[in-house]
């Protein structure tokens, strides 16, 4: 058995993909994007140059 972070991560991703429907995944991705937006707005954007 290959004992590594990657092998554990890979099996978890496989199980996640098998057990979660596309609709659920879309909801999760939307939630994550919303969380990211909120986080970014909390970080001080003025001190960092905006690339895009």
């Amino acid at each position: 058995m290959n004992i590594s972070k990657d092998s554990l991560k890979k099996i978890k991703e496989e199980l996640f993909n098998k057990n979660i429907s596309e609709e659920e995944k879309d909801i999760i991705i939307k939630k994550i994007n919303q969380e990211i937006e909120e986080l970014i707005s909390k970080l001080n954007p003025e001190s960092d140059p905006i690339d895009e």
């Binding site: 058995m1 004992i3 554990l8 978890k12 199980l15 970014i40 954007p45 960092d48 905006i50 895009e52």
Partner: protein
């Protein structure tokens, strides 16, 4: 905001979601643990997650096994039963196995420290009624996890420190809370050692 930051945040959060969902998936289908040996490192057969002491001791046992493979290799080489090239390939493989093992166990132990309360962690340690030698070994294991995670953080976030200081601070703040908790756990373990 920088594309790298968004990607980094997305991956971090996506993994958090996977980890949360996977706990439920496993609890509902315990055969997954039997069928996937790598899951047995993180989970008990009843679907619960292993605690810090179990993980630290299992890592020690696995390291002893790998070092025994190394000794066998050294012996074969010393007896000229293996040429230098083959020996070096095998030694590199063993060193990689040790490194991978440490990175994985560091991650799992650090995740517990990050997610559990200090009291939960203390209780999980007290219940084993460890002797001084085991307590000392556990304290050293936790100290090593903290050092390795700081080093890993530094290596993985250099670019953010140079370009995006506020994001680097955000990430550092997250890891430093867990490091501070792990120091508290380490001190607690050391305090249990009988003088």
């Amino acid at each position: 905001m920088n594309k790298d930051i968004i990607e980094d945040l997305f991956n971090e959060k996506y993994n958090e979601y996977i980890n949360n969902y996977i706990d439920e998936i496993i609890k509902e289908n315990l055969d997954l643990i039997k069928d996937n040996e790598i899951l047995q490192i993180e989970y008990n057969y009843d679907g619960s997650k292993k605690d810090i002491y179990s993980l630290a001791s299992e890592r020690d046992i696995k390291k002893v096994q790998i070092n025994s493979d190394k000794n066998e290799l050294d012996y074969k080489f010393s007896q000229n039963k293996m040429d230098k090239e083959e020996y070096e390939i095998n030694i590199n493989d063993i060193n990689k196995r040790i490194k991978d093992l440490d990175l994985l166990y560091d991650d799992l132990i650090f995740e517990i420290i990050n997610n559990k309360t200090i009291d939960e962690i203390k209780e999980s340690i007290i219940k084993y009624k460890l002797n001084n030698i085991d307590l000392d070994r556990l304290a050293r294991a936790i100290s090593s996890v903290s050092e390795n995670k700081i080093e890993e953080f530094r290596n993985n976030n250099k670019s953010f420190m140079l370009d995006k200081l506020s994001y680097w601070n955000y990430k550092y703040d997250k890891i430093s809370k867990a490091i501070s908790k792990s120091r508290e756990v380490e001190n607690f373990i050391l305090s249990l050692i009988e003088k």
